[in-house]
């Protein structure tokens, strides 16, 4: 293999290698520093011991629960939307429909959260309509609970799920649905036997994109959530900024990362998901 030592070969390695190196550095280096920080000082592991105390365990599990729940709701909402846009909507309205569903992507994240404060507050739009039309005597407390937080989450992350799912849904051959109907499948069977398996890669990709971001979100639970239900991001931020306990904050982040990877791995255990993923 004399070719391996020619200057051309070396140049190829440099051209291909430098961006890869940059990507690795950007992705791995901060994680590495964070990890070194988390096990210090003195390789004690006390940081990790503290993370597993009941207070933090609760926040971690709650965050994972919110992540799973909101992702599931997003998928459930995105399925009919993308099915309609890809297979029912007349061609010329398709782009408009897609753009209007994904419009929130272009607004500032924090502003989107405050929009819901304005809508759900005691003097907000919903309460004013309900009281104004005489449906209610007095305003309802709609804000600062799991529902308002959930609404905010779905509103913000649905566009990502819709865009990702749409690609899969559009590639689903509508004739497969017709063939299934022709063979006697009800609407439920068509969904379970054709639509779901053919769009599972899209659902998996959407989950990869939004699940960890929801579980680790900071702004939405702060702005719309209940003060009593603490999600992991607040604890990490507190550790960094209030207590300046970097080691603990880093340990908390790593345990969270492992949990996220663990739950995603759990999903990949399903043989159906694995079979679909292999086709990527």
């Amino acid at each position: 293999m004399s070719v391996a030592n020619t200057p051309g070969r070396l140049r190829d390695w440099l051209v291909a290698g430098s961006p890869l190196l940059l990507a690795l550095a950007l992705g791995v280096f901060p994680l590495l520093t964070l990890f070194v920080e988390s096990i210090g000082p003195g390789l004690g592991g006390e940081n990790y011991a503290e993370v597993l105390s009941p207070l933090y365990r609760g926040a971690l599990l709650y965050s994972i629960g919110v992540g799973v729940g909101v992702t599931a709701v997003c998928l459930a909402v995105a399925y009919p939307i993308t099915y309609w846009i890809a297979h029912r909507c007349p061609d010329r309205y398709r782009l408009i429909a897609l753009v209007s569903v994904t419009l929130p992507l272009w607004l500032n994240y924090v502003v989107l959260n405050y929009a819901w404060v304005w809508i759900l507050a005691r003097g907000g739009v919903v309460n004013r309509i309900l009281v104004g039309t005489g449906l209610l005597d007095s305003s309802l407390d709609l804000l600062y609970n799991n529902i308002s937080m959930g609404i905010g989450f779905v509103y913000i992350y649905l566009p990502y799920v819709v865009l990702t799912m749409y690609v899969s849904m559009e590639r689903l051959d509508y004739q497969l649905i017709e063939a299934a109907r022709d063979l006697g499948a009800s609407d439920v069977r068509v969904f379970l036997d054709i639509v779901l398996p053919r769009t599972l890669p899209g659902a998996a990709a959407a989950t990869l994109i939004v699940y960890a971001r929801i579980a680790g979100a900071f702004a939405t639970p702060e702005i719309l959530g209940s003060p009593g239900n603490v999600m992991i991001a607040r604890l990490v931020v507190q550790a960094f900024r209030q207590y300046t306990n970097y080691g603990f904050a880093a340990a908390l982040s790593f345990v969270f990362l492992l949990l996220v990877l663990g739950t995603l791995g759990l999903g990949a255990l399903s043989p159906r998901v694995r079979r679909e993923l292999r086709q990527w």
Binding site: D173, Q175, L176, E178, A179, A180, R181, D182, L183, G184, A185, S186, R189, D193, I194, P197, R198, R275, E276
Partner: protein
């Protein structure tokens, strides 16, 4: 009893009728083809029969039951799609057994029927394969088995052979015919390929612009086409306009640009002086010793025969001559050189052994 009876079926897209009041009946066990050029409404008709498209008006009866308002899954029809659309995430056996599972047929009966269906299409033992591992012809057979296994009142086929190359297509035509006989299923086959329709079908309906213009056994449609369109769509035909100059028994003699031609007609319906159209098949044109004379303007080599376009005083006729492949082109044969190829500019004498009167299909 008729497996299928369609009455005044109509479908309009954006004001244009795609299917314009068609009626037809297909008998139990018949191989019936619906043929016509692209856009004539044949696929629209098929989709309405399958229940995948709602007709604007008309009635569809299957085995005597009115199914017009029933969705696809409640109809005893099954379809073989043009693109086959096998379920890519299911094995061959799961594909074939899908319809049975949906109608509640349980194992082990389902497995047995799937096996029988695969055996019928010569794919015994292929059940565990994925559709993507199969060749085009094999996928074709799976699609057929997936529909046939449900024992439909009528099997609807939407040009399933269109994507195959010629040799495979001819094999599959013979297979379709055999499978249709062996399974004793009624077939309704839609295609724009008149050759395959004629070779497979018991009866053929020719469609044009959303209407059925002629129905009958292939031989009858070929020899006695009723309209200009049918004459030229089913095989080659020369169409000559002319006036009826006299009647001879059941025939009429028509003065065409090429000369007088005697044509089959229901003589009663034509009077002397009527302007009519005569269709002449190339094989009905004989070479030498006829009443017509013309000049060869074009010669086309077609393999075992040769085709010459002959200009007979302004009207063009097509004549064919079989080639004697045993003798080389240049060697004169005993009878004075009829094995020589046609030459452009050569003068030939033609006779017409059979011509039929056709009408314009516009109503």
């Amino acid at each position: 009893m008729n497996a299928l009876a369609v009455d005044d079926l109509r479908k309009t897209f954006g004001g244009e009728p795609a299917v314009d009041d068609i009626s037809l009946t297909v008998e139990q066990g018949e191989f019936f083809s619906l043929i016509g050029p692209s856009g004539c409404g044949k696929t629209t008709t098929l989709r309405m029969l399958a229940g995948l498209l709602t007709p604007d008006a008309g009635q569809v009866m299957l085995n005597g039951d009115d199914v017009t308002d029933r969705p696809a899954r409640e109809r005893a029809t099954n379809m073989v799609f043009q693109d086959l659309v096998l379920f890519p995430h299911m094995s061959v056996a799961e594909n074939v057994g899908y319809g049975l599972a949906r109608s509640g047929v349980t194992e082990p009966e389902r497995g047995q029927r799937v096996e029988d269906a695969l055996a019928l299409v010569n794919l015994a033992g292929f059940g565990d394969r994925d559709p993507s591992d199969l060749s085009g012809g094999q996928r074709q057979r799976v699609a057929l088995a997936r529909a046939l296994v449900n024992d439909p009142a009528i099997l609807l086929l939407d040009e399933p052979l269109a994507s195959l190359d010629r040799a495979l297509r001819e094999d599959m035509q013979a297979e379709f015919r055999r499978i249709q006989r062996d399974s004793d299923t009624t077939f309704l086959y839609v295609t724009h390929d008149q050759e395959s329709a004629m070779s497979m079908s018991d009866r053929v309906a020719v469609m044009r612009d959303g209407r059925i213009v002629n129905v009958g056994p292939p031989r009858q449609l070929y020899t006695d086409p009723q309209t200009r369109f049918v004459a030229s769509f089913l095989g080659d035909a020369t169409l000559l306009d002319g006036d009826v100059i006299r009647r001879e028994g059941p025939d009429v003699v028509v003065q065409t640009g090429a000369g007088p031609l005697r044509a089959d007609a229901d003589a009663a319906s034509y009077a002397v002086g009527d302007t009519v159209t005569v269709a002449v098949r190339p094989e009905a044109v004989t070479l030498g010793g006829g009443d017509l004379t013309g000049t060869v303007t074009d010669v086309a080599y077609k393999g075992f025969y040769e085709e010459a376009t002959v200009d007979c005083s302004g009207a063009e006729l097509v004549v064919r001559r079989e080639r004697n492949t045993a003798a080389p082109d240049t060697a004169p044969s005993a009878d004075g050189g009829t094995d020589l190829p046609f030459r452009v500019g050569e003068t030939v004498e033609l006779g017409v052994s059979r011509a039929v009167l056709v009408r314009d299909e516009r109503r």
